[in-house]
Symmetry: C2
Subunit: 197 residues, 2 copies
């Protein structure tokens, strides 16, 4: 079958966001990461700041004062997720694109033109990238990665009831430490352009 | 880093063997599957018939009468594995190649030019392929697939202490049902030709 939408889930430090951006550029299709958050923020009464940190915060939910148009009986994180859910579906309906994070793979799982990708790498590779590319502090990076992995896994499991990083949840899982950023981009591109059997 | 050896683990009915064969042809490098068994058989006093069925039989081990040159205190399946182990290392030492099954990914795990691939697909896709390509009986295919998955998983876990099909054990996991045989070949080729970062 033809692929139109690529979703990328990724471990912190694996280069998944960069891979997504390069892939979108190569395929000449839109790329959504924080752009997605901003879009969601614009159409929601909840402040953008909460959206930006939703995935990192995990699922420690808390109640938020009533705002017009927002269900007041849901924890804030769930409201954020519902708003993102709507935005992701809207974006995907507009045509081919690459979406990083935000459980987009699960949100769009009913589409048969979806290519679901997971990017991971060894701890040493991720530490190196986080320090050199993201400016993380060497002394604290391993703990940060462990914490973020756990939070992303919890976030994913909470909203999808599936296991983050389990091969069977994706169409393509790539070790970016072994294959490299450009190699990963090329591998996803090859899969994206394939029509299946 | 440069890749020289591709190992392919696969679910029954996923087309993993065909993908490996097509990849080897495209890259113009040798392909080993039953050829590997034959090579092992030639250099071992254990009969070829046992080699051919080693992976399917799982790990239900039993003692085998003493043969010259074979440690007589090991169960037969372990002797078979040790002989295959030696042959896989010998094959890989001769240059680039594609090896399907036989825990080759684990046998060669110390090599830094290894590309470890896992091919899987949904049950419905595998049933369809097994019936149309392998001539399996429609009424019995689902149970056969479940049984073979279990045996391959047990075989892999017994000899490698790792979990068969878990994304982190491989560099590339591909859903051949979504991406197709040719798409999978192209994706692996792209990863193989990448030099990493």
């Amino acid at each position: 079958m033809e692929h139109n939408i690529v979703t990328i889930s990724r471990q912190y430090g694996s280069g998944g966001r960069l891979i997504g951006a390069k892939l979108a550029e190569l395929l000449n299709i839109p790329f959504y990461d924080k752009e997605l958050i901003n879009l969601a923020a614009k159409s929601s009464p909840i402040h953008a700041n909460f959206f930006e940190h939703a995935e990192m915060k995990g699922t420690g939910s808390f109640m938020y004062p009533f705002h017009p148009g927002v269900p007041f009986d849901l924890p804030l994180n769930d409201k954020v997720f519902l708003a993102q859910f709507a935005v992701i579906r809207e974006i995907a309906s507009q045509g081919p694109c690459v979406i990083v994070g935000r459980c987009a793979d699960d949100v769009l799982k009913e589409r048969d033109d979806l290519l679901k990708v997971f990017i991971f790498a060894d701890m040493e590779v991720r530490k190196k990238r986080a320090i050199s590319e993201y400016g993380d502090v060497p002394e604290k990076i391993e703990q940060k990665i462990i914490t973020l992995d756990k939070k992303r896994a919890n976030y994913y499991q909470h909203y999808t009831q599936a296991k983050w990083g389990s091969a069977k949840n994706y169409h393509l899982c790539i070790d970016s430490g072994c294959i490299g950023i450009d190699g990963a981009v090329e591998a996803i591109r090859a899969a994206y352009l394939s029509k299946g059997d």
